[in-house]
Structure formats: C-alpha cells, structure tokens
Symmetry: C2
Subunit: 388 residues, 2 copies
Amino acid sequence: MNGVLDMMDRIQILQQNLQSNEIDGALIVSAIDVYYYSGTRQNALLWVPASGDPYLLVKKSFSRAFQESFLANVEPLKSLKELQKYIGQAKKIGLTLDVLPAQTYFYYQKLLPECIFQDISTLVREQRSIKSSAELEIMRKSASILCQIFKEVPDFLRPGVREIDLAAEFEYRARKAGHEGLIRLRAFNQELHSGHVLAGKNAAFPSFFDGPVGGKGLSAPYPQGPSRDVVQLNVPIVFDFVCVYEGYMVDMTRIFCLGDLDNKLKQAFNAALEIQNTLVQNLKPGAVSGQLFDQACSIAEKYGLQDNFMGYKEEQARFVGHGVGLELDELPVIALGVKNALLANQTIALEPKFIFPELGVVGIENTYLVTEQGGEKLTALDDVIFYL
Amino acid sequence: MNGVLDMMDRIQILQQNLQSNEIDGALIVSAIDVYYYSGTRQNALLWVPASGDPYLLVKKSFSRAFQESFLANVEPLKSLKELQKYIGQAKKIGLTLDVLPAQTYFYYQKLLPECIFQDISTLVREQRSIKSSAELEIMRKSASILCQIFKEVPDFLRPGVREIDLAAEFEYRARKAGHEGLIRLRAFNQELHSGHVLAGKNAAFPSFFDGPVGGKGLSAPYPQGPSRDVVQLNVPIVFDFVCVYEGYMVDMTRIFCLGDLDNKLKQAFNAALEIQNTLVQNLKPGAVSGQLFDQACSIAEKYGLQDNFMGYKEEQARFVGHGVGLELDELPVIALGVKNALLANQTIALEPKFIFPELGVVGIENTYLVTEQGGEKLTALDDVIFYL
C-alpha cells in the first residue's frame, strides 16, 4: 500500500471516530501521534476537525515539517494564541489527556475558554493498535534487524564479560544495522534504554519497570537493565531487546547460557513455550485479552509455577503481552481482567517468563500479528535456549 | 558530604519553600523528582508535608524502594485511594504540573475533592538546579568519562565511515565506561538518544529539537541525530554528546575534521570561543541570564554572524546555555529575555554554535559550575578543533 494513501486513511478514520463520539475536532498534541496522522515528527500541533481539512501547525522546524508531511495545510504556529483561528466554532475538543501535561491543559483552557475538552487517549491508541500493510512492512524489517543481532550474540558472549559489556555489544551492532535507539514509551514515568541483558539472579531483581523483568541496573537513579556484574557460567542470560526502525518497534527475548541449566529452569522454559504456543493459536480477532491471560496462568499453575509467573510472588506483573508499534506500550494489553477483544492486524509482544529469585529468569518473547489464523510470528528466530 | 545527609537537607529545603508559599504539602509525582528527594527511583509517590515526616508510597518495587531510600517511612501503596490517609487535613497541595499528565491530575482531583492543587514545577526545578558537593562529585566523574571518550574519537574517525557508525562507536565506548544511556528530558515532546554526530551540511539541518543543532536523523519518525551519510573530508564533524553517570549528565561538543576547514568556519569557531570565554567570566551568582544571552549575541554580531548564531535565520534558537543534572533541560536557561539571576552551584552547559546551511556547524560546548570566580569548567578537554 502506498504510504501517503495509508496516512490519509488514518485522518478519515479519526474523523469517523470523532463524529460517532460527537466530538467537533481533535487537537493532536503528542509528537508521535502527530507523526502517525501527518507524516512528520516535528514540533507541531495537528488540528483535525470532525469534518473538513486538517491543519498542521508547526512550532519547529516549519521548513522540515512542510517537506515531510503529506498534508495539504502545513502552517507555522508563532504563538499558541493563534489556535482559536483554526479551531473556529468547534466547541467539544478531543485531547490525549494521558500524555498532555496538566500545565499545558490549563493553558489551552485559558486560550479556548468556550471549549470543552474530552479525553480521546483510548480512541487514538486503539486506532494506532491496528497496523496497515505499510506499517507491517516496516515492522517486518525491524524484526529482521533484531533477529540478525540475536544471531550474532554467540560472537560476543564469552566467559568473563559483564552484563553492561554485552548490552554495549548488542546496542553497537543494532545501531550500525539501523536501530534508531530511542524507545518511546507512553506511560508516565516509564522508560527504557535499548533493552536488558541480565544474567542469573540479577534478572530476578525486582524493578519499577512495568514488565516481568527489570534487572539491577547501574545505579539507584537508573535501577534497571544491565549491571557491572560479570556473567556466570550455567545461569540463564536473558537478552530482552527492542529494535526501532523507521519509528516502529519489535520486542523479543531469548535465553542464552554458557554451560548448562538446572532442570527446574529447563522445565519452566518448556512451560513458557507451552503458554506461548497456546496463546498464539488464539491470537485471533475476537479473543478476549483477560481470557488469554487466564489461559496463561492456568498453564503456569499446571506446572506448579504460579508463584514464579511474570514476577515472583508480590512483585508479579498481571499481564503476559503488550501491543508494540510506534510505542513500546501500545494497546492491546493481554492482562488480568481486560475485557477487550483482539482486533485483526494488532501487533503484540507475548512474553511468558518465569522468575526464580535464586536462579534467574527463563522465558521467551516474540512479536506477533493478530490474524484470523492465529498469531503470525514477526520475529523469525528459533524458540530455544541457546547453549554456548 | 555524606550522601544521606545531603538528601535529608533536600526535604528540609522543600519544606521551607512550601511554608513560605503557604502550601500544606507537596505530592512529588515525577520519578526523577522522587529520586532527588528520597534516594530511590522506583515507581512511587512522595508525600512531603510542609512540616513533619515525609512518606514514600511505593507502587513498584516496594522491596527495592525500601532498601534504596534513606527515608524512615517507606510504605507500599496498593491503591491511589489510600492517598487521603497520608494527606490528612492538608488542603493546598503542590504538584509539578509541568510533567503530570492531565488525566492523572483529574484523577487526583477526584480522589482528593477537598484539596486545591498548586503548581510547584518551578519551585522544584529551581531547588534541583543548585548542586550539592555530593552531586558535583558525581558530575565530575560523569565529565571525566565523557572527556575520555572524546579523546578516543581519533581511534575510530576515518574516511568512509557513516555518521551512524561514529555514533555507534561513541555510544559503545561510553556504555562500557559506565554511561547509563537514557537521557532524561523534562519538556513534553522533547527526546534525545545519547547525542549527535553530524558532518558538514547535515549538522545544519533544521530540527524539532530545542537546540541549535538537530541533524538529519535516520527517518521521518526519528528526524534527529546521525544519518546513514558518509562523512566527507574537509567539513566540520560535530560530536555533541551527553554522559549519564549515577543519574547525572554532562553535555559537551567538539568539532573534528578530516582535513582542513574553510577560513569562514575557523573564524566562526573563534567567535564561539570568544562568546564562551566572555560568558564564563560572568558565570557568577547574580548574573542575569538574559543579559548573558545579549552579550553572546553582541559578540556574534561583532563578527557579522548574527544570522548564523544558534540556528540559521528563522530556525534560530534564542538561548546559549541550559542547566544540566538529573535532566538535560534543567534550570537555568541562558536565553533571550530571562530575568532570573544565576545562583551559586548551578551547573550549566554553554553551547555557542554557528550554523551555515552550505558548510555545516562549528562551535563549542562545555559544562560549567557557577562560582563566585566565574564558571568552573567540569569538562576538562582542550577547546580546539581537532584536525585528523
């Protein structure tokens, strides 16, 4: 599909959603949402009326936004005071209040005293969760870069190296292969640099990160990811990495080992595979997220591993998969109690993992496309533990 | 100074500021502010009453926050509904509305219907801008790592390499030396991955980034930083990098060149040095930021370079320096019209740069400490163009 046509569709779908929610127009404020609807990630606001032409209002850089965007109306915005002119008679305005700072919200309220603001975070995030063929093509490329770097791990994983050395080696190769580096997360206070290399017990370190695995990190202000510890023999070494290519992310995890693993860990890895393979069969439009999570928990329980699934005991995360795309924490979330049904062409990182405080972490993560036939794997690498 | 004592002082200073602003207490919500006041960057809220003991209320990970924080009262927060219990009779509550998402703000409003919220963003940011001796010690270490990597540039800057290769090499060495990777920025929609390597014209590419230099980048969704272009001979190659060590950043820029540069660029580099050296003499408590910026502009004008200073013509940024510390965009800002006076022990990256659309960018950046004797340079590397 042609990229520009694809992007014009996005505006039309947003307009339909605005109309059916009786919202007069959306003021798109988050840079990555602006990119999604306009084709440029300059510093700009995008005004999308429920019907009629959108306006891209650019703070910096105008010349570049003008060149990059496929929209017809790209104009410089010298001051937010000019906003009223574009918004005209619209009264009910949609804003993504999940990311807009309160300070800016109040400033908009002051500038547009006649307007009522409505939260359209979920509406935008749901639209973005469904990927077009153009987006999928990019994600497949992102996945192929990431798989390639995973295949190179045996070239640099050696006894005596530190976790941070392994992360540096992985990041170095990924950057040279086109990884854009910065990992965009939508949730307030969540953050991640490239990914995790965590060996043995360090992988089981609890963390602020909204995931099953966090790591020890380098310091208290950066308490996540690789540490300066040397990786040991006969422990699981978790490589959980993200590649960003043309803005789109894929996420995957494989376990490597210098030597051999405890049978308990091998069995837990098999449980993770069983969870993955069961869920993948059901990764179809209409499947209910919460039910998929329950399925995963049942399998964990069957193996007697319910206390180790997605965290240890009180540190457990209550999800097993998350949407990926322009952000790492997209919809849908395969989590406890979520009643939403999956939609065709959503892209989901499934990551069943088991955490053993004394031994480390085993599990698997691949990025899938939701199809009528079940999950289609985008991250084409063997689902095995790599023993070196 | 002992780190823990240092952090206790921070709480006391915040409490004094709350009292003098007649605010009953601060609910600290941003992870890095929570770290600053509590010693842990887990997922937590910090309640600091105007007088009395603060409470750290931890969402995830409690066990780790309990271990990391120096505060006496560290408690798990199962639900935000428990907040009222801690806030008690306090009515006027300070929040950093510059970063708190509007959605969360409205949720707090619902949970605490009796409370009035007041923006304390500037109060917190101003306190954080003044560094203790413990913080400065960390920043000196961060600077020494960064300078070391700059010294290694001649080892990997060769004809035929691409900008992205140079970035990968720099990042690789920095990571192995302890660079924590993720660069924290406070401003909405601003972001940066490690730094910039930009050669020739590419450095003059306009960008969304709130800085003089942005670069071409790898794609429209990541339109900043290094590109896949091969660096040419006889052009200025800008290395603008940040090191994060124990959470604290320093920022510096040097120009490298394979061959020789146009005299116009050499003269502009001298102008940048003159601006730096003039401003450094005045980097004293009491100096007014806007006047320092005006001084910089006067020197640019003296050289006939007013259209090239900090951006080209309509793309010009109106600042020449920014605070650095736990975030890259801290206070103070040395910018047009800013009436604030500098304070002792603020840390500032000064970055006078000249942009020539057809030739590239020259300039310099160092991180300084504001002292009674003027700016003390933390980034100890020669202020020269490195010809290879």
